[in-house]
């Protein structure tokens, strides 16, 4: 167990004070709301510049600079801040912990982000299957209102900020920022066209809107507290700050780990997460959520975990969801399960995603059941190509949003690393793993 050797920032309070880290009393006793108070005295430019300098990368999975995202905000006002807590990528469960166990940390971040962007109305969109985190957040908001940290004249200033919690209705796609905005407005959760509907220009109710992830916002008090340079130093090269990994699957110690970038996958899986269960062998892992192409031990185990290294290896860190699979895993079944997820979660707008993902799932299920044909893997790849032309990384799309191309990742991974296993399903007429 080596996690304590790395500095804890976002998870420190919940680790040290597990019983009451979610309360305002504990939050303030451990230095909380001082940075929001300080932000009230800073200019918008100072705040945006500090965040830019910190190199904070959005933690929602797309890997885009948070400060840059803020600077795109179009001038017309009012503008909105939407905090994306619709954590629904399979294998991702870090926001849940932040929402449930340190909601004031996020609220303080919301205040900072709002002041930095002249926002007076913020929304927290929480995944519908997260009732307890939502209750904790609502309670924390109530505490903050009572304390004068939200509402009219926060911290004795003349600044007004209201925060509203909204629960999602159970759609993965509402984690996509424009679909989330549609959902907030009461519409079907369908991604909007970009252009013209970039949230920074035409977002919620067609007004400029910043959409930031829970973890991204939760970082803000720490950036102000320690300063941009110290924050950068926590991380590794371009990947500044700490990063929450959600490790799940066939490891001895699954869970959330706050770590710097730059460690290797071997360290993460075998040291930090305790290695494989029951002495099984590592077969493959998904490095950054269900949308990410898979990694295999032969090629990637000693690779440092950075955004760039992952990208160059044809995958991504995404939202930090690491799903580890051992040698008892049928890779056809694993791919089928991931594709089934995306087919189920497709909003249905775009033809290739609506029709293609289900078709791919049907083919994979047929192979898994032993009814595959020799042509099926090539068919799968060609269907994939019609959703994501060229099967390139980062993916090209025939669709509005990347959900459809996400379903292609397991298929290309299967073809790249486990073609023989697929062929064995076909020739043996059953799953070779039994």
């Amino acid at each position: 167990m080596t996690t304590t050797t790395y500095p804890q920032v976002l998870t420190r309070r919940m680790t040290e004070h597990p019983a009451d880290s979610h309360t305002l009393a504990r939050y303030e006793a451990t230095g909380g709301y001082q940075q929001a108070r300080a932000a009230m005295g800073m200019t918008r430019e100072q705040l945006v510049e500090t965040v830019k300098e910190s190199g904070l990368i959005g933690r929602g999975g797309a890997g885009f600079s948070a400060g840059m995202k803020w600077s795109f905000l179009a001038p017309p006002r009012p503008s909105y801040l939407v905090v994306n807590g619709d954590e629904s990528e399979p294998g991702t469960f870090k926001d849940r912990q932040l929402l449930e166990r340190d909601p004031h940390q996020m609220i303080e971040g919301i205040i900072i982000a709002s002041v930095a962007n002249e926002v007076h109305e913020a929304f927290i969109y929480i995944r519908g299957e997260y009732p307890k985190p939502a209750r904790r957040v609502q309670h924390a908001i109530d505490e903050a209102y009572a304390a004068g940290y939200l509402g009219d004249g926060i911290f004795g200033s003349d600044y007004q900020l209201d925060v509203t919690v909204h629960l999602g209705g159970g759609a993965y796609i509402c984690g996509e920022e424009t679909a989330l905005i549609n959902s907030l407005e009461g519409r079907r959760g369908e991604p909007r066209l970009k252009p013209p509907y970039f949230p920074a220009a035409k977002g919620l109710y067609m007004l400029p809107t910043i959409v930031n992830n829970v973890e991204t916002v939760s970082n803000l008090p720490h950036i102000l507290e320690m300063g941009a340079d110290a924050y950068k130093a926590l991380g590794h090269d371009k990947d500044t700050g700490t990063f929450l990994f959600s490790v799940s699957g066939h490891v001895k110690r699954p869970g959330n780990y706050e770590l710097p970038h730059g460690i290797t996958w071997r360290e993460l899986i075998f040291d930090i997460a305790g290695g494989m269960l029951d002495g099984r062998e590592l077969k493959a892992w998904i490095p950054g959520g269900a949308s990410a192409p898979w990694f295999v031990p032969e090629e990637h185990l000693d690779m440092p975990i950075t955004k760039d290294d992952c990208g160059q290896a044809g995958s991504m860190l995404g939202s930090g969801a690491v799903i580890v699979m051992d040698d008892s895993t049928c890779m056809v079944k694993a791919a089928e399960r991931v594709v089934r997820f995306f087919a189920h979660e497709s909003c249905g707008q775009c033809t290739p995603c609506r029709e293609g993902t289900t078709w791919m799932q049907q083919i994979l299920a047929r192979i898994e059941e032993g009814h595959g044909r020799a042509v099926d893997l090539d068919l799968l790849l060609d269907v994939s190509d019609n959703i994501s032309p060229g099967l390139a990384w980062p993916p090209k799309m025939t669709t509005i949003c990347p959900l459809g191309p996400s379903a292609v990742s397991p298929v290309t991974s299967l073809a790249k690393y486990f073609r023989e296993e697929v062929e064995a399903h076909v020739t043996e007429g059953r799953c070779p793993l039994g």
Binding site: A171, I173, R188, L193, A343, H344, E345, S346, C347, G348, Q349, C350, T351, P352, R354, E355, G356, T357, T358, W359, Q362, I363, R366, L379, V383, D385, N386, I387, P389, G390, K396, M397, T398, T399, I400
Partner: protein
């Protein structure tokens, strides 16, 4: 007009307005890009992904939908690269994997964009070996439209039409992914007056119309362009027929008029043409009934009886009703017949339900429908356009909803445009003059709306709000509008070719070509063509009916007129026709009126004859023949010519086109207008100039009564064309008395109870329904509903619990 930009499509440089969707720019300039969800009259959404093209960018080629790509300077677009071809083939394969291959029994088969684009861009074979998706089908989404969710490709055209164009967002995509499908809301059908448009724009056979389902194969259809026979907006339509049966109307995208859309009444109101109840032989009265006769016998009888009346009582003892249901040529022949053969100016195409003829025919400055697209404020003081002029309603809605024009609505109750009105004023029928005075002065609540009208351009849509309204109120409103700094007037009246008929002189005070009796030179010019013309205006419809009823007049000629159903005082019309010495009716059916005639002559109807219509803007367009009239039917002009010859005063017509040539010679507003010119301008037609009437403002008295009647038309009613269109007839609301809940309470009745409404000329017992949009002291009764006696045109009524 937006700036012009140059873009390059497949190496060809084209110049388009900045912001035009690239797909439209390409298609308009000869490069076809396949598509399903894109429709040039709907907002682009980029769903089907069929119109993908490659765009050159600094980071290389990007695959992007061309429907959501606004044209901007210097864009370089490629529509036929291997990447595009593969993507489009892929999209088609995806669309087809779950699409049933039931094309042989699908209405759309043969005119199906999915079939056509599969041929052009699709894969040659299917690689799909799984089970296709299944849904229960078909499911009715409205009384007129059925949905097959297996055929649906989720392009959302129907959803977008309902929300963006019709303003009836009653149809949506529900569920998601592979199970996404079109659905209506629970217990709330897609009961839109415009539902049929979704059938026309559906790119597959998912939405089908009950009136057309399984009736034809598209390749068997004969097609002809024509003009809608129901509305006065002059919608461009295509008539489809097979085996001498009219089977379908579709809207044509004429920018000047309907932009492709039709109300369901216009779209499905073709069934009357092929009705088994059409008259096919002349009928001659025989006691209480009729007997069939030969044309010769019937025509001789008409000539003899009319001649006898003229000889004994003079030509001015004869009244002429109608002209609005036929072509301009028929109307001209009728007008000339009354003036030159009979010698009477007693002729009216209006059924006592329209504003002054001069206002409708010759108002100036007159607006076009297209002027609504650029108006900064629209004043609507007239009928509920949703009920009485469907496509005009859509045009106004579009101006407000899409472009943000301001809208002022003044009406006695809620209207279909209230949800988009910037200002809405509700007033008691009978208090229009007082309301207008207050409005014009900008008093109180009217201040902002009144002020908005001082900034142009303004279009004032003016007509009768209801049938108990003093028709001169419309003139007063028009006079007010004419006095605004930058306003034009669009006069509205109902019934088919009313505007054409008035232009042809089917009006007591107008001669053909919008000539007033006050214009001595023009009247003198007619003497040359017509012989003697009575030098004074005749009686209008109510005057003629009263004259017949009290014996001042002796005979009536009905040309496609059904005053018993159509005038507010139907009982008077019945008395008038019963009292007349002689009545001849030219009609398609034995109506409540023609069945009172002494001779009924079977006329050709719409789609059976050629000619022109004139719409409410004064726009002339062609109507064309595609089927033969049933039995021995004849066109109106020919029947009237035959009678004229037998009366010794032939009019000189031997074809509809010879009538048109005479119109072009003698009718000033139609000078030199030939059919070929109208044909050449298809589908827009020819907009005529020639207004001379600047409305003056006669202030009438307001009605002071405890209860007043609002009597107004609904889209569907018991008129003869509706009665004979079986798909539509059951959609009429039927007899009902709408009351404000407060009035109902005062009367001691609630919803469903019966009340007796005692009008100025009749009474009816009707079930009560609440309408909180009514002012207190108003009862609203939809006009001309089956089984409801006529109430008369007076506003003051008595209402009591039955």
């Amino acid at each position: 007009m937006a700036d012009l930009v140059k873009i390059t499509v497949d190496g060809k440089e084209i110049e388009v307005e900045a912001g035009t969707p690239v797909i439209d720019a390409a298609i308009d300039n000869g490069t076809y890009i396949p598509h399903f969800c894109h429709h040039s009259r709907l907002e682009p959404v980029g769903l089907c992904r069929m119109c993908l093209v490659e765009l050159e960018t600094p980071r290389g080629m990007v695959l992007t939908p061309s429907c959501t790509l606004p044209a901007s300077e210097g864009q370089v677009i490629h529509t036929k690269t291997p990447v595009v071809d593969k993507a489009q083939e892929g999209v088609l394969e995806f669309l087809l994997i779950n699409h049933p291959l039931d094309c042989p029994v699908c209405d759309k088969g043969g005119e199906c964009p999915l079939q056509d684009q599969t041929l052009g861009y699709g894969p040659g074979e299917s690689r799909f070996v799984e089970e296709k998706r299944h849904f229960e089908k078909p499911v009715p989404v409205s009384d007129l439209v059925l949905l097959d969710r297996e055929r649906c490709i989720l392009c959302s055209r129907c959803v977008r039409f309902a929300e963006e164009v019709a303003g009836d967002p009653l149809i949506e995509i529900t569920a998601r992914g592979n199970q996404a499908h079109i659905e209506t809301f629970p217990d709330e059908p897609f009961s839109s007056y415009f539902s049929g448009n979704t059938v026309q724009i559906c790119p597959v056979g998912a939405l089908t119309a009950t009136a057309y389902r399984f009736r034809a194969r598209p390749w068997d259809l004969r097609k002809v362009e024509s003009t809608c026979p129901h509305c006065t907006a002059g919608e461009a339509i295509e008539i489809d027929a097979s085996q001498n049966q009219v089977l379908r109307f579709n809207g044509i995208d004429a920018d000047a008029t309907n932009q492709g859309w039709l109300s369901d009444k216009c779209r499905f109101g073709f069934e009357f043409i092929g009705s088994a109840e059409r008259l096919t032989v002349p009928l001659v009265r025989d006691g209480d009934g009729f007997r069939e006769s030969t044309w010769a016998e019937a025509l001789d009888l008409v000539a003899e009886r009319l001649g006898a009346v003229i000889e004994s009582r003079g030509g001015e003892a004869v009244a002429g009703f109608g002209g609005a249901r036929g072509t301009n040529e028929d109307a001209y022949a009728f007008s000339k017949f009354m003036r030159a053969v009979v010698g009477s100016n007693h002729i009216d195409a209006r059924m006592d339900d329209a504003p002054a003829a001069e206002l409708l025919a010759a108002v100036q400055p007159r607006a076009t429908i297209g002027d609504l697209d650029t108006a900064s404020t629209i004043l609507l003081w007239g009928p509920d356009l949703k009920e009485e002029a469907g496509t005009l309603y859509l045009r106004v809605r579009q101006a407000v909803q899409k472009r943000g024009a301001k809208l002022v609505v003044v009406h006695p109750r809620r209207t279909g445009l209230d949800d988009r009105a910037t200002w809405k004023f509700t007033y008691r029928p009978g208090t229009g003059f007082g309301t207008l005075e207050a409005f014009a002065s900008g008093a109180g609540d009217f201040a902002e709306a009144r002020k908005a009208l001082d900034e142009g351009p303004v279009v004032a849509v003016v007509g009768l709000t209801g049938m108990t309204e003093d028709p001169t109120l419309a003139t007063a409103v028009a006079a007010f509008a004419a006095g605004l700094p930058d306003a034009k007037i669009l006069p509205v009246a109902r019934r088919s070719n009313t505007f054409g008929a008035l232009d042809m002189g089917c009006a007591p005070g107008l001669l053909p070509g919008r000539v007033s009796f006050g214009d001595a030179d023009a009247v003198a010019a007619f003497e040359a063509a017509f012989g003697a013309v009575p030098d004074h205006a005749g009686l209008d419809t109510s005057g003629m009916l009263e004259g017949l009823a009290n014996g001042d007049l002796a005979a009536a000629v009905l040309v496609g007129a059904d005053p018993v159903r159509d005038v507010p005082d139907g009982a008077l019309a019945r008395r008038a026709l019963e009292a007349a010495d002689f009545v001849v009716a030219l009609d398609l059916f034995l109506t409540d009126s023609s069945s009172l005639a002494d001779v009924v002559l079977p006329a050709e109807g719409f789609a059976e004859k050629e000619g022109t219509f004139t719409n409410l803007e004064g726009r002339v367009s062609k109507v064309n023949r595609i089927v033969a009239g049933p039995g021995q039917t004849q066109p109106d002009w020919s029947i009237l010519e035959e009678i004229a010859r037998r009366m010794g005063r032939p009019m000189g017509f031997d074809s509809a086109e010879t009538v048109a040539e005479e119109i072009a010679t003698v009718a000033p507003a139609y000078a030199d207008l030939r059919w070929r010119d109208v044909e050449r301008k298809k589908p827009e037609g020819v907009l005529l100039d020639g207004g001379w009437y600047t409305p003056k403002a006669p202030a009438g008295p307001d009605v002071d009564a405890d209860m007043v009647l609002h009597l107004a038309r609904t889209l569907y009613d018991d008129g003869v064309a509706m009665r004979q269109s079986l798909s539509l007839h059951h959609l009429a609301p039927g007899g009902v008395a709408y009351l404000h809940p407060g009035d109902a309470e005062r009367l001691g009745v609630t919803e469903g109870d019966q009340v007796v409404v005692v009008g100025s000329a009749g009474e009816a017992t009707l079930p009560v329904r609440f309408d909180p949009s009514l002012p207190a002291g108003v009862v609203y009764v939809p006009f001309n509903q089956a089984g409801v006696p006529s109430l008369g045109a007076g506003a003051a009524v008595e209402v009591r619990s039955a």
